[in-house]
């Protein structure tokens, strides 16, 4: 049986891969390809955020009573990443290479330090505090499309 830590960390890696493909297309100037890959990335990231904000975070908050703690901080960073995703989409629309790469670099660093905090601290905390409830929650999240 998988854990929240394993399942969600895999989802992080999947999003990373999609971003790398979009960035490679932009760097190569393949704009049509870039538009499709950028959309695939932002959709995957939005789905990942939804898994947390709609399912995992509420369950964790209900169990621990911590509504102003780590999940509030993570939601805030999600909003920042959504802003940067919008900048990426606008850059693809405008075919602005440097704009995409600069906003993308910022998104990557923000996303990676965010993922590290989730994978090292928050997800293990969730696995511990949710216990048996975790399996049912994961069932609702699957499949990783």
């Amino acid at each position: 049986m998988t854990t929240i830590s394993v399942f969600m960390a895999d989802d992080h890696r999947a999003c990373d891969g999609l971003y790398a493909e979009a960035e490679a297309a932009v760097a190569a100037g393949a704009w049509d390809d870039a538009a499709a890959r950028c959309a695939a990335f932002t959709e995957a990231l939005a789905r990942h955020f939804a898994r947390e904000e709609e399912t995992l975070f509420p369950a964790f908050e209900a169990r621990t009573g911590m509504t102003e703690g780590p999940t509030a901080m993570m939601r805030m960073e999600h909003d920042e990443m959504r802003e940067l995703c919008a900048a990426l989409a606008a850059a693809v629309e405008a075919r602005a290479r440097d704009e995409f790469l600069g906003a993308g670099e910022t998104l990557v660093v923000l996303m990676q330090q965010h993922n590290m905090k989730e994978e090292q601290i928050l997800y293990p905390l969730m696995d511990r505090s949710l216990g048996g409830e975790a399996a049912g929650l994961l069932e609702r999240l699957a499949p990783t499309a």
């Binding site: 990373d16 891969g17 790398a20 490679a24 704009e99 600069g102 601290i121």
Partner: protein
């Protein structure tokens, strides 16, 4: 239940790390001046006053300076603890290292015991304050993951290096009888293999896979490299201090070097398998750094095998200018623009645009620095081979690279201030 490491208020104010980062390149300029004016003497022996001065300008003024800045930033995130009194600790440590390094280098250059004594005391105080704050922070650390262990060992490595440096300083400046001649070898070995190597490895385990999207380092390496190297260094130090196990001590230090060789080669191999195909300045600087680390370790092994000190200075140039400066500068080109963005994001009202990293430090400026740094390494190595006429060229190349680094950091700060004041 505490959930540390996730809160903005655990990140120190921007001024705390920035103070260290902006000062560091200026010490590389000072080292370049020593190369320019005392080059012939410097390249003749690693124990010459000029070589000792330049070495400490780089190791303390640049390396320790930036690492303290970085540790004040990453400790709250990685280990989940804020440093106690971050502004005060930063101000004291920064002042101690700045004044202490300058005094120490001056003391070496002009053979003056007064400045040497002042340098030793100021450095001991400045680094001591910082290490005490780290120790207090780590003792309260709630998540003692592998990262915490590695960071703690790196900090311990720095503490051992400093303690050995204080012993050497007591001998040189106060004329006290040396407790043990082995300290002259232990001090640089702990500085490079213990403190610098451990910190680069612990940081590299995280940032290389994260930023370049490479496969992770092998799990056994992540878990065991830092404790194994540390234990081997302790055993080697005991053998050298006792002095009666020359063969064993060569093998023990060889094993330490082998550990770092494996790390450098693994890093190069992982970077070749990265998922982001674009090679940015940080990637190029890490590649240059790792290539220099491999060359330095091979050179060091050759000089031990052949029992010669003929290429000691070349090994030092590769390890300090080629490896340490490149890797650190690569990190600075990523950390400083991101921190500027991070703090702007909190300062600028929602809905207003925050300039991204590419606007805070444009790509062409970063690439100019990479070229200058590679040229500086090449010129320094050429100067080792032909000191009298190459030394001024190497000095100019080193100074140019350092000034470009400083300029890039100032560029970020100016863009930060513009965006903040416009908000």
């Amino acid at each position: 239940m505490a959930a540390p490491g996730l809160r903005y208020d655990q990140a120190p104010p921007f001024a705390v790390p920035l103070r260290f980062f902006l000062t560091a390149p200026l010490f590389l300029v000072a080292a370049a001046l020593v190369v320019g004016f005392r080059g012939e003497e410097l390249f003749a022996s690693r124990f010459s006053p000029a070589a000792l001065a330049a070495t400490h300008l780089v190791t303390l003024g640049f390396m320790a300076m930036t690492m303290l800045g970085a540790m004040s930033q990453v400790l709250p995130v990685l280990a989940g603890v804020p440093l106690p009194r971050p502004r005060l600790v930063a101000a004291l440590a920064h002042a101690g290292i700045t004044a202490g390094t300058a005094a120490l280098a001056g003391g070496f250059l002009w053979g003056a015991p007064g400045p040497l004594k002042a340098g030793v005391l100021l450095l001991g105080g400045g680094l001591g304050v910082f290490l005490a704050a780290v120790a207090i922070g780590l003792a309260r650390a709630p998540n003692r993951a592998a990262t915490g262990v590695g960071l703690a060992l790196a900090a311990l490595g720095l503490a051992v290096t400093v303690a050995l440096g204080l012993e050497l300083g007591a001998v040189r400046a106060w004329g006290r009888a040396a407790a043990n001649l082995a300290a002259r070898d232990l001090h640089p070995a702990w500085g490079l293999f213990g403190w610098t190597g451990l910190l680069v490895a612990v940081v590299g385990f995280h940032v290389v896979p994260m930023f370049q999207m490479t496969p992770p380092y092998p799990a056994t390496m992540q878990r065991w490299l830092a404790p194994a190297v540390f234990a081997l260094l302790v055993a080697w130090s005991a053998a050298r201090w006792g002095g009666d196990l020359p063969r064993a001590s060569v093998w023990l230090l060889g094993a330490v070097a082998g550990g770092w060789f494996a790390f450098a080669v693994t890093t190069i191999a992982l970077q070749a398998r990265r998922r982001r195909p674009r090679a940015d300045a940080t990637l190029l600087l890490w590649r240059l750094g790792m290539a220099c680390a491999v060359a330095a370790l091979a050179g060091w092994a050759a000089s031990v095998a052949l029992a010669t000190d003929a290429i000691d200075v070349a090994v030092g140039v590769l390890a300090l200018v080629g490896f340490a400066v490149s890797v650190i500068a690569g990190m600075l080109h990523k950390i400083v623009p991101f921190l500027a963005w991070f703090h702007l994001r909190a300062l600028v009202p929602p809905g207003r645009r925050v300039p991204h990293m590419g606007l805070l430090l444009p790509d062409p400026a970063q690439r100019r620095y990479v070229v200058a740094q590679a040229a500086a390494v090449a010129a320094m190595l050429a100067a080792v081979a032909a000191p009298p006429w190459m030394a001024p060229v190497a000095a100019a190349a080193l100074a140019l690279a350092a000034l470009l680094l400083e300029w890039n950091l100032v560029t970020v700060l100016r863009a930060f201030r513009r965006a903040r004041d416009a908000a």
